[in-house]
């Protein structure tokens, strides 16, 4: 049995206001070659890896849950998705944009967006862009601490470490039971 379940970021619909700061932070964290210190000077398009959804007056950002035995990893026909360092990672160089992973994700965390190719690949010619699968990678390639969590003005995004969070719930439940027993 694995000692630790994969950590992931989750949004709280009761706190989220739909300002999309997290999306911008995500795109900034994943910009290529450190181009653009400010959003206004970014040459690459803003492609966030978490997705905004609205339903019945609530809003939230949906991102990858880094499932154990991820369906996306099993579905990928070219084996571009694998578990690396406790998070599910899509290898950009192997993805062919077939959309199979996006179809099987139970939470809708993968979306297919135009693959950004810089100047060295296009040479300044406006070439046809193909799509590629994008999803949250826990900012593993770019420092380790998810940028979206830091950017949220309402603290609606938190990093869940499943075993710790379970323990916290257990402790709270036990304390509540203690209070209840005292009253009886």
């Amino acid at each position: 049995m694995k000692p630790n379940l994969n950590s992931f970021v989750i949004g709280d619909p009761k706190k989220c206001i739909g300002c999309r700061s997290c999306e911008v932070a995500c795109a900034v964290a994943h910009r290529e070659n450190n181009t653009g210190l400010t959003v206004g000077t970014m040459e690459s398009p803003i492609i966030p890896r978490l997705f905004y959804i609205k339903n019945n007056n609530s809003v939230m950002e949906v991102q990858c849950r880094h499932c154990e035995d991820a369906p996306c990893a099993s579905a990928c026909p070219v084996k571009a998705i694998s578990e690396v360092n406790g998070s599910i990672f899509i290898n950009e160089k192997l993805c062919i944009g077939c959309k199979t992973c996006s179809l099987v994700c139970p939470v809708g965390a993968i979306d297919l967006l135009p693959r950004h190719e810089g100047q060295i690949i296009n040479g300044g010619v406006d070439r046809k862009s193909s799509v590629m699968a994008y999803k949250c990678d826990m900012c593993k390639e770019v420092g380790g601490t998810p940028n979206c969590v830091k950017a949220c003005p309402k603290d609606a995004l938190t990093i869940i470490t499943p075993k710790k969070s379970k323990k916290a719930s257990n402790i709270k439940a036990a304390l509540e039971l203690l209070q209840l027993n005292k009253k009886l």
Binding site: I53, V59, C105, G108
Partner: protein
């Protein structure tokens, strides 16, 4: 080991391809049939460079030329420029009305429609690079392939009939560099490579988001089942609803 590209030295490993090293160091080499995921085709020849090895210069395709010794590479000599221009002239003669080829040709300074002596189909879009065939193969379906030889070479399903293997995923159209594969989504059906597919409707909102065959293929490959087949948006809405009601009193 190190190699010299356009007069400057760069570090590389033995066996790496010249194109890889060039891109890593921000050197532009144009490509048409190259894709990191489906590499090794070497069919378009647009990425040719000159490699100077032991005093002799030879023209090679940088996408599949492995570095085995400390050679010198020239990416933009007059000879290479002329070769690229000639390639584009021929490509444009084959596909005169193709936007992507025209854009590329313009960037290399090719004048319009210089070659008039070939009697070809002016609406041709395919340059037979082979990316679609490779992509379909990688998918595991292998529905299309190259057929015939010489001037009759083309990409098709076996005998031109609708392929039983095709699932309508359209990854071929995605990787095609010249938009040569038509995918027509109309009236709840997708038509591609002469085969008609029923488009899967989302069980919540009714949006058509993929072919039924592709959805079946995806779930079979993943080895999971889903009670309801939903589009991405509805799946996200369901995630939102679950998070709203999940832990009403526990602080997340």
């Amino acid at each position: 080991m190190k190699i010299i590209i356009d007069g400057k030295a760069y570090q590389c490993e033995k066996g790496e391809y010249v194109l890889q090293v060039a891109r890593r160091n921000n050197i532009y080499i144009p490509t048409l049939c190259h894709s990191d995921a489906l590499s090794g085709l070497g069919s378009c020849r647009l990425c040719v460079v000159e490699v100077v090895d032991r005093g002799r210069a030879k023209v090679v395709t940088s996408c599949i030329f492995p570095i085995t010794s400390e050679v010198e590479v020239v990416t933009n000599s007059t000879k290479i420029q002329k070769i690229r221009k000639d390639l584009l002239v021929l490509l444009q003669a084959r596909c005169p009305e193709n936007e992507e080829i025209n854009k590329l040709a313009k960037s290399f300074g090719v004048e319009e429609e210089r070659v008039n002596r070939f009697k070809l189909d002016k609406t041709e879009n395919c340059v037979i690079c082979g990316l679609c065939v490779k992509a379909c193969e990688e998918m595991g379906t292998g529905a299309i392939s190259t057929i015939d030889r010489g001037v009759f070479k083309a990409i098709s399903t076996p005998y031109g009939d609708p392929s039983p293997q095709c699932i309508g995923c359209a990854v071929c159209a995605n990787v095609c560099p010249t938009n040569a594969i038509p995918v027509i989504d109309k009236d709840g059906e997708r038509e591609i490579w002469g085969k008609k597919f029923k488009l899967q409707k989302c069980e919540e909102c009714g949006k058509e988001f993929a072919t039924e065959d592709h959805v079946k293929f995806a779930f079979a490959k993943a080895g999971v089942k889903s009670e309801k087949i939903l589009c991405e948006e509805c799946r996200r809405k369901s995630s939102l609803d679950k998070m709203k009601n999940a832990f009403p009193k526990v602080e997340l």
